[in-house]
């Protein structure tokens, strides 16, 4: 046995959705009814008077947990940012990794934020490289000959070491870093990975 969803919408059900839910945009190029007493006012007032409020206790805790779960699900697909940290540039790219016997280009997503530059790998979730902007001593582009062809790369000097970076558009990446460096925000202790 199963229950079939009913289409027994009351008019109020429809009004509620169309006046209180659905997409409203906040942009200069549109007129919206958000917060403005246009047609909806008397209807909204009518709705408010018949709202059924629920008693909450544990249900609220459950709700919070559920929401957090979804939030975490979403977060897993994105790099962790500090509060107020803003992504300025993002590109797919590599870092030269050299530790002991292992040396290779490691792929991930490069992010330039108003605080840091980091290379983030989605799976497993890890920052392969990270530095705060104020630790960067210099930014240079260089070329490396690979398979007989010149290949551009970005060299980032941090604390006496040089990180070798590749991406599809090196000049744009360099430009993004220079713009970010123009206005670094905080002083922090860097955590450097085993690169260089």
């Amino acid at each position: 046995m199963k229950m079939k969803p009913e289409r027994d919408y009351g008019l109020v059900d429809i009004l509620d959705r169309l006046l209180n839910k659905g997409v409203i945009l906040n942009a200069d190029l549109i007129i919206t009814v958000a917060g403005v007493p246009l047609i909806g006012l008397s209807l909204k007032a009518a709705l408010a008077s018949i709202e059924t409020m629920l008693d909450y206790g544990m249900l609220e805790a459950w709700d919070r947990e559920t929401r957090n779960w979804y939030k975490n699900q979403l977060m897993e697909r994105r790099p962790r940012l500090a509060e107020d940290e803003v992504i300025l540039y993002k590109t797919f790219g590599y870092i030269w990794y050299n530790q002991g016997l292992i040396s290779s280009w490691r792929p991930g997503f490069w992010y330039v934020t108003n605080e840091r530059i980091f290379l983030w790998r989605r799976e497993p979730d890890e920052d392969l490289f990270e530095t705060y902007l104020e630790r960067i001593a210099s930014v240079k582009t260089g070329t490396e000959i690979e398979f007989g062809k010149d290949r551009e790369e970005l060299n980032l000097e941090v604390e006496g070491r040089v990180a070798r970076i590749r991406s599809s558009d090196v000049p744009a990446f360099e430009d993004a870093i220079r713009k970010a460096l123009f206005n670094p925000r905080h002083q922090r202790e860097p955590e450097l990975g085993s690169w260089g």
Binding site: G22, V23, L54, M58
Partner: protein, 262 residues
């Protein structure tokens, strides 16, 4: 159209469609509703003056809202699950303004359309018989049961005070119990749906549920393939003694589309 009246586009929804087409004169005030495509998506709009829809006539206002709702239903039938817009959103400008906005927010809109594809919004409300649960609370607690028996033998004045006390205690337990149940049902429902939200304010319930206590109201984004399974689960809850479930839908995903940053 005089100079003071700027051109506008009233938007009903954003759908998955790559081609220009028309829905007919089905919009608000019988306006001609058509698609403004951009890549693989399109905005469903009608052409109007860039002035908000205002009226003091409540019947007129209701009519407009229902017309808006009708266009959303029609577009859903034709293009599948869409991004529904709230009543009264008007772009200032012509089709190009709409196209510009679509272009600017293309990735976000595509992502949201992808998220809701093959899914619809459903409402699940769970009601229970308050007296029945209260009775169960008293009979399952030896102390409360004892207190109730004692109250019967008390003189009227004292009985009144203790009756109040008992009532408060039972009410407290009732909230605990219904929240526990709602949380439990929520966990089951969560397994079968893509996303679930608690509806904090419920605007309307059919007459047949009046007089019952609403213990939970969920908004669920459900894959078409899971609607039957959800129906099964809810049937199980509905059949429990003292419980009743209202399951309604499908709705366009009004509660599950967010366009932040637009």
């Amino acid at each position: 159209m005089n100079e003071a009246m700027k051109e506008g586009r009233y938007i009903y929804s954003v759908v998955s469609s790559a081609v220009e087409s028309e829905l007919g004169d089905v919009g608000i005030g019988e306006s001609r509703v058509y698609l403004v495509p951009c890549g693989e998506i399109a905005a469903v709009v009608h052409s109007c003056v860039a002035e908000p829809y205002v009226t003091k006539d409540e019947e007129k206002a209701k009519e407009w809202v229902l017309e808006h709702s009708y266009v959303i239903d029609l577009a859903t039938d034709r293009f599948g699950t869409l991004i529904p817009f709230s009543f009264g959103v008007i772009f200032i400008g012509d089709d190009d303004s709409v196209r510009f906005w679509l272009e600017e927010n293309y990735d976000l809109l595509k992502e949201e359309l992808e998220k809701v594809r093959g899914r619809s919004e459903y409402t699940v409300q769970i009601f229970c018989d308050e007296d029945l649960i209260k009775e169960k609370i008293v009979t399952s607690d030896p102390e409360l049961l004892k207190l109730r028996d004692e109250i019967e033998k008390m003189p009227k004045g004292t009985a009144y005070i203790y009756q109040k006390k008992l009532g408060l205690k039972v009410k407290e337990e009732l909230i605990k119990e219904t929240n526990r149940l709602a949380g439990e049902f929520g966990v089951y429902i969560e397994e079968l749906v893509d996303e679930v939200k608690i509806e904090k304010k419920v605007s309307w319930i059919p007459d047949k549920y009046k007089g019952m206590m609403m213990i939970a109201a969920f908004l669920c984004l459900v894959s078409d393939g899971n609607v039957d399974a959800l129906g099964n689960l809810l049937d199980g809850i509905d059949k429990r003694e003292g419980f009743s479930v209202r399951f309604s839908g499908p709705w366009a995903p009004f509660s599950f589309v967010q366009l932040k940053g637009t």
